[in-house]
């Protein structure tokens, strides 16, 4: 079986903001070559580091988003352009003037290589009043709207005494990188029809602005804006929290399943009153539902609550830290986590693997993240002919 992008050559000239794009394309089988200056890509200086010792080959942040790629060191733009001539895709994070200055302007690139797919991922896109503005992930999470919607609720006086919060993990950059991968694949599909390359202009701000689910529609429909506050949670007897959504809107079976479970656990109390079968009555007395759920939580630890809720048909989930996910039996059974050898360290490292199970074209996960310049000579040979 071959991978969907096997044989596709991707040249990556990005900072940390768009490295996840290349990681996805590499997983799909593309030959992703990261072009770095002699000092290394800037992302190699970002921690955390292995054993907390900085070094170009020790950045775990770099590892996470560069697994599966090759690295070449090229310091002169002539060499870079020669590689562009032999690539199918160029992903970069240069604003238009910077790209121009390096000979990577779209017009001149397409003159040299009309089939090249050029994808620029920038904070605000190539034009518009904010095109020159500076942004990191935090700024983009603020402008995009997810930050305003995340955080703790107001105090009893209705005043928010804590700030809106952005997730860790560079989610705006990650969303932009994912959209970049989608656009590149769309462009490759088109190229196989037409032979034509094109320019893809990804604005991370626009990507960040389009990921807050129903909030725009709420405003359009009701004039209201979504205010921040956590989803309902239950705290188990071991202190672990469980996201405890009770989606009554999906139909009467939701409450019926919950009631059966609460009765079996002996904590249903007044909910057994047939009046609660009426959704209007239930909505008016939801506090009783919540009291019963709290009685359930006092008797069970977080993982048990997760299981009890799921067995009752409720979309409950125990809140895990990112590393606690490694123990999830379902993901393990699906073969999600992949161990890769780092021979120079004499270690094996576990990485998140395929984002889906593609039965005819498996995810490629064979190369550990590249050492700086590790493949310079090899790539120049491999890519010498097209």
């Amino acid at each position: 079986m071959t991978a969907p992008l096997e044989g596709v050559r991707v040249l990556e000239l990005t900072d940390e903001s768009a490295e996840y794009c290349g990681r996805v394309l590499a997983g799909l089988g593309a030959d992703v070559v990261k072009v770095e200056p002699a000092a290394g890509a800037p992302s190699r200086t970002i921690g955390p580091f292995l054993d907390d010792e900085p070094g170009p080959d020790r950045s775990l942040a770099f590892w996470a988003d560069n697994v599966g790629k090759r690295s070449v060191v090229i310091d002169d733009d002539t060499g870079l352009l020669a590689l562009c001539d032999r690539a199918d895709v160029l992903v970069h994070t240069l604003r238009p003037p910077e790209a121009q200055a390096r000979g990577l302007g779209v017009a001149s690139l397409h003159e040299r290589a009309p089939g090249l797919v050029v994808c620029a991922v920038t904070p605000f896109g190539s034009d518009g009043p904010w095109a020159d503005y500076l942004a990191d992930d935090l700024v983009l999470m603020a402008l995009g709207g997810s930050m305003a919607a995340c955080g703790y609720g107001p105090g009893a006086d209705g005043v928010y005494d804590t700030p809106p919060l952005a997730s860790l993990g560079d989610q705006a950059w990650r969303t932009a990188s994912t959209y970049a991968a989608i656009a590149v694949m769309g462009a490759l599909a088109w190229r196989s029809e037409s032979g034509s390359g094109q320019f893809i202009d990804v604005s991370a701000h626009e990507c960040s602005a389009s990921m807050t689910e129903w909030h725009l529609m709420t405003y359009l429909c009701s004039g209201g804006v979504h205010r921040r506050g956590p989803h309902p949670t239950l705290t188990g007897s071991d202190g672990k929290q469980v996201a405890a959504l009770n989606p009554d809107f999906l139909g009467p079976h939701v409450f019926a399943g919950m009631l059966e479970m609460l009765e079996a656990q002996g904590v249903a109390g007044p909910l057994s009153d047939p009046a609660f079968a009426d959704p209007v009555h239930r909505a008016g007395n939801y506090r009783e539902v919540w009291r019963a759920l709290k009685r359930l939580a006092e008797k069970n630890d977080g993982e048990t609550l997760y299981r009890l809720g799921q067995e009752a048909g409720l979309p409950w989930g125990v809140i895990r830290s990112p590393d606690e996910v490694l123990d999830d039996r379902h993901l393990r059974a699906r073969g999600h986590f992949v161990e890769l050898e780092h021979p120079e360290l004499d270690r094996t490292v576990t990485y998140p693997g395929a984002p889906f199970l593609a039965h005819g074209s498996p995810w490629v996960m064979q190369r550990r993240p590249p050492l700086l310049g590790e493949h310079t000579e090899e790539v120049l040979v491999d890519w010498s002919a097209r």
Partner: protein, 431 residues
């Protein structure tokens, strides 16, 4: 358009699956939603509802009676309009009716991709398992999208975005130190899962073009999320630094690279905030200049990044008292002009009405349908120079009314006559 000619028979519901096919529709694929009048997609019939024409004034957003009294029609559910741009068509078919099932098989035979987001096993119970479908269409690309996927010990579990967020660490990553996680207040993973669903569809179609082979791709909402934590997983495993530890997560503060001042600061107004993020000494120098060089900024404790990080609480208090007197957009403009990364904390109303960049980029496209006046809707947030995506898909149309394409799809795809379609409807096969 990039995917023109690709036909997707789309059984997705709610957000996660529909996000995937909306992306493909915006790229030019023909997306035919297969729906039910008896069990409409929940987001067609739950609030908030799009106002009736005349119910709102010049500005969007007047509260409506419909939002207080229940579903007025399956075509007014507001959230449906978020997830069903891309020029999707809608047909209604009763899969439990023998003629309905036969119709679905005819449609599968003429489609490239089948997508669905039901619980595992639903299509099998209809008599439309992957094995059945691939006998009809040997090179079919079948993309299933449900919370836990179709395989694995917990495949029967039920999820919504926040469930998957809890289980995969996404919820955990949003919070202040030493408090329970705040999490995402919306289904972020409906989006992320949908993006990977779109990648699965694209991968399947590129693979088929190269090999002639179809396949089943099983997308869950869990796997797309595990890479979202970046280095946290590696830091825990290799440096023995589990994320569940005192002082973690760190709210808006970022340890890598060490940056201060960096965070959300209160601005003038009720619960208004602005992000200022100094990642370098240059950013800090520029900030000090933009603030008019206040005496406190020359405190030797703040002279280096290491010093600013060490004394970040004091530093944040000073920066916050400067921002608190100023409008968030004024702070953003002033600092950006000075060379400091900064941005107003915007909500959905701000994005629509106060964000000049989104407006200039044409982020919103006005699209409606027979029942709903044009609304500013979103598609894919990138541009392509040769095959530009369109929020209304190939036909530049708005999200479909329930069953609005029954006749055109059945006549054009299956060669039926209007009378044939009417007879099927009378039979109950199109409910």
């Amino acid at each position: 358009m990039a995917l023109e000619g690709l036909r997707i028979l789309d059984f997705t519901r709610l957000g996660f699956g529909a996000q995937a096919t909306l992306i493909c529709g915006c790229l030019g694929a023909e997306v035919i939603r297969v729906e039910s009048t008896r069990f409409p997609d929940a987001i067609r019939v739950m609030p908030p509802f799009v106002p009736e024409p005349g119910e709102r004034g010049e500005a969007f957003g007047a509260a409506t009676l419909a939002n207080a009294t229940g579903a007025p029609s399956p075509n007014r559910g507001g959230i449906f309009y978020k997830y069903n741009t891309g020029g999707k068509k809608s047909i209604t078919v009763n899969a439990r009716h023998p003629k309905g099932l036969a119709l679905l098989k005819d449609l599968v035979a003429r489609s490239d991709v089948v997508t669905e987001s039901f619980a595992a096993g639903t299509l099998d119970r209809w008599g439309l398992s992957y094995d059945v479908m691939r006998q009809i269409k040997p090179d079919l690309i079948y993309v299933s999208m449900c919370g836990f996927g179709h395989e694995g010990p917990d495949a029967a579990n039920v999820t919504m975005g926040p469930t998957a967020q809890a289980l995969t660490g996404s919820t955990f990553m949003v919070g202040l130190p030493d408090r329970p996680p705040a999490g995402w207040s919306f289904s972020y993973l409906d989006h992320v899962g949908g993006y990977l669903g779109a990648i699965a569809i694209l991968a399947g179609s590129i693979h088929r073009r190269r090999t002639g082979e179809g396949q089943h791709i099983d997308v869950s909402q869990l796997e797309p999320a595990t890479a979202l934590s970046g280095a946290l997983l590696l830091d825990a495993a290799l440096n023995n630094r589990p994320s569940r530890r005192p002082g973690f997560p760190t709210g808006n503060r970022r340890a890598h690279p060490p940056s201060a001042p960096s965070g959300a600061y209160r601005a003038a107004g009720d619960d208004k905030w602005v992000v200022v993020s100094c990642r370098t000494d240059e950013h800090w120098e520029a900030l000090v200049g933009a603030m008019g060089r206040p005496p406190w900024a020359h405190d030797p404790r703040f002279a280096t990044m290491a010093g600013r990080v060490e004394h970040v609480d004091d530093l944040d208090a000073h920066v916050g008292s400067w921002t608190a007197e100023r409008d968030r957009y004024e702070v953003m403009e002033l600092l950006q002009r000075a060379g400091v990364p900064a941005g107003a904390v915007q909500d959905a109303a701000d994005r629509l009405e106060r964000d000049p960049q989104l407006a200039a980029r044409g982020h919103y496209t006005m699209l409606g349908n027979a029942e709903v006046e044009p609304l500013p809707l979103e598609g894919v947030p990138f541009r392509m120079s040769v095959t530009p995506p369109h929020t209304g898909g190939v036909l530049h149309r708005g999200p479909p009314c329930l069953g609005e394409d029954n006749e055109s799809v059945l006549c054009e795809m299956l060669g039926m006559s209007t009378a044939d379609v009417a007879a099927l409807a009378a039979d109950g096969a199109l409910s």
